[in-house]
Subunit: 453 residues, 2 copies
């Protein structure tokens, strides 16, 4: 991972500090000049990095001068904060300049009443498009698509298509494929621009069409869309309704955002963070995290109840209390390794019913072998530390038990959650730690009770 | 996260099982027919999901019939295994059909001698291109780029460019932008195909060129390239040498692979897994994971040494042994939340010197507040459990100490590692657990010694 990027070269910590200082010194024109020199993602990065009070001051200063693209680049928490400060006229002005998909995502989180106000400010055509987009479920292909595309009838010639493109003044630069539709608007296929450029004018467009291009239904989940782009190396993909009528097109840059979002969500979920709370305020962050900590407290209490059953053993051999966290911790770490590999493989479609059994068997073998390695290591260390070979043998045996249990838990828990339709990234680790703590303490203290007392 | 994708619809567990059975029954033609109906990513998925022995049998069966695209889609461990079975003539035949960047990544992991054999089998032009690609460092823009692009002199007219495209028979379909270079081969800018289509033939190409397009140096790291594509919503990006001479072009689908790789690497590193070992064999997996477990064993032993200092207290109040894992575990979980947010924000360039202090202060506030919440909860529970308000007060105070320590460790450790050029995703959690275990046991047992004995 390298922190260097074009954006980081543009928005240096020094620049952010300079903007903050200039703002504090009350020199609005200089602030505007500094911000004006930045790209939209750059301005978004500045708004994300300054303090909340300074962000509010910046937004108040810019208002209508704020590039609408900046709004689409902002983190959700920051964007909500910025939108709070703009009135419905400002937001409508921004929405008008954006692609339908971006405008829809700008409006989706607004309170119902304000959203209606903003929509009322928009020209009828824009309003209808945005309302159609908002009618699709969140995270669906219909929400992700844009409507501006080049669509031509299937009875045209290449020459007619070229003339049409020349006349259409507002044709966006980022068009890479033309779509051919029949009289009912049903998708017949696509033609890459490069191919059209190389074809003579009288040739019917249908002669050079790719009929078997992939398309997605508007109701498809964005994760499926991302998989499709990945599998087929797509740059754009048409979106169709159940009758295969062409509705819009999804571009790869929007899919890159989806891939980033999904990767972030998986990483954060595995780390016990529900959503990216980096830009949330303190109270919201406390609330988001407390929920997860409460679940973990329950796990820890269950483990304590197990220990409580062996108070008698601990009173007699206090070394048990000293050593028991080692067994639990090694199980937790080994299990986390397995869970991580399983969750990623499930997300990428690499772990399925076809190879699940092989995966479980391999993980148990890995757990058993690593269990033996660390049983020897730790058993030897305890022998040296406490000069008691029976204690060494007990910790070694407990280590093997717990690393095998970790392998079983680390595979069966995510597979089971997935089977029951629960996202394995969210809750696998907490179930796993319960297993490895309970088995770790039970095996170590139980074996000690049997063999050492 | 949804497991449904086009690929998963194509490669169902039933199909994989049917291929395995057909193979076992010795019906090679039927196996070929089943595989032949699949796309390249589909065939790759099958090779990844069958057992190692069956994979070897499949490769032996297919050999030259194996679509070279399949090799580029395979996971690294599986690909190495497949390449082991092909001789240099087979590999050369595959390399010839691939883009330079894919061919280079096919050859990069071969043993030196075999790589030279494969290169010797290739036509001189292909060999030179692949050798040039291999000369760039792994994970650099130079390695990622492909050389097939449309490059036109800056003194041509649009008509000349169109004629040139018509004559170039082998022009790939996935060309979206033309690149304009001066007499010395230096990049002057690019022209989107759509714009050229709309321009009259006599117009000089320089009149419609975008001169300020982003480009990357060939030595740039692929992570920087991915950031650039993200920030500028690019579909392709030219690669230049230090004199700004055009060397090649990077396409967005290769960048999507980079983004996937990086996200996977971060997730796996945070989970204590060095590399995607899902497809590695058991022994290799044991070795990869044992390293990390050994580091964790050290952490656990350090925590035990801390507990060892309080044997006396534990002997007198055995409840301390029962309760102490709760304090340590809550600290570990809260710290992991903070570390996860910090690591992700560092990777995305959202956490910089400009807002680090604000981030640390917020995390300490969050830690303190959650500390108080769980101090009250756990203190109350202990009061009910052991009927000892002093023990409740001690566990509460220790909880607050450890959650604040977790916030400090969770922010300072990744920031410090990043500052010293160490990847924070790899080692943050192990340092953090050391902090939260040591402080957790120290605070709880120390306070108990002072106030309860």
């Amino acid at each position: 991972m390298s922190p260097q990027s074009d954006l980081l070269d543009e928005v240096t910590p020094e620049l952010v500090r300079r903007i903050e200082e200039t703002l504090d010194e009350g020199r609005p024109d200089e602030v505007k000049r500094l911000l004006g020199g930045l790209s939209a993602p750059g301005q978004a990065a500045v708004l994300e990095q300054v303090s909340e009070a300074q962000r509010d001051a910046l937004v108040a200063l810019l208002r209508r001068d704020l590039d609408p693209e900046v709004l689409t680049e902002l983190d959700e928490d920051v964007r909500d904060d910025v939108l709070d400060q703009l009135d419905s006229k400002d937001i409508a002005a921004a929405a008008r300049e954006l692609e339908t998909d971006d405008a829809a995502s700008l409006l989706e989180d607004l309170p119902e009443a304000e959203r209606r106000e903003v929509l009322a400010e928009l020209p009828a055509a824009d309003r209808a498009e945005i309302e159609t987009a908002l009618a699709y479920p969140d995270d669906s292909a219909g929400r992700l698509m844009q409507r501006s595309l080049v669509k031509v009838p299937d009875n045209w010639s290449v020459g007619q298509v070229i003339d049409h493109c020349r006349e259409a003044e507002d044709l966006p630069d980022d068009v890479y494929d033309l779509f051919v539709v029949d009289a009912a608007g049903r998708l017949r296929g696509s033609v890459p621009l490069g191919r059209m450029l190389r074809t003579k004018r009288p040739v019917p467009i249908l002669d050079i069409v790719d009929p078997d291009i992939p398309s997605v239904p508007a109701m498809a989940d964005q994760v499926e869309v991302a998989h499709l782009f990945r599998d087929k190396n797509l740059v754009s993909c048409p979106v169709v309704d159940p009758e295969r009528r062409l509705l819009g097109v999804i571009m790869v840059d929007d899919v890159v955002d989806v891939i980033d979002e999904e990767a972030e969500a998986d990483l954060l979920k595995m780390g016990g963070v529900g959503s990216d709370d980096m830009h949330a305020n303190t109270i919201r962050t406390v609330r988001l995290r407390a929920l997860w900590l409460a679940v973990n407290l329950l796990t820890a209490v269950i483990a304590s109840l197990v220990i409580g059953q062996f108070e008698n053993a601990i009173e007699k051999i206090v070394a048990l209390a000293v050593l028991m966290p080692i067994v639990a911790s090694m199980g937790g770490n080994a299990g986390t390794q397995t869970v991580t590999v399983a969750v990623r493989a499930l997300a990428m479609g690499e772990l399925t019913a076809a190879n699940a059994l092989r995966f479980i068997v391999k993980e148990i073998a890995v757990g058993g072998l690593n269990g033996m390695i660390f049983a020897l290591l730790m058993g030897g260390a305890v022998l040296l530390w406490y000069h008691d070979w029976r204690l060494g043998a007990v910790i070694g045996a407990a280590m093997i038990c717990n690393l095998v249990a970790a392998a079983l838990g680390g595979t069966l828990i995510p597979l089971g959650l997935q089977k029951f339709g629960v996202d394995p990234a969210v809750s696998s680790t907490v179930f796993l730690t319960t297993v490895t703590d309970v088995i770790g303490f039970l095996a170590f203290l139980g074996l000690a009770t049997v063999f050492l007392l």
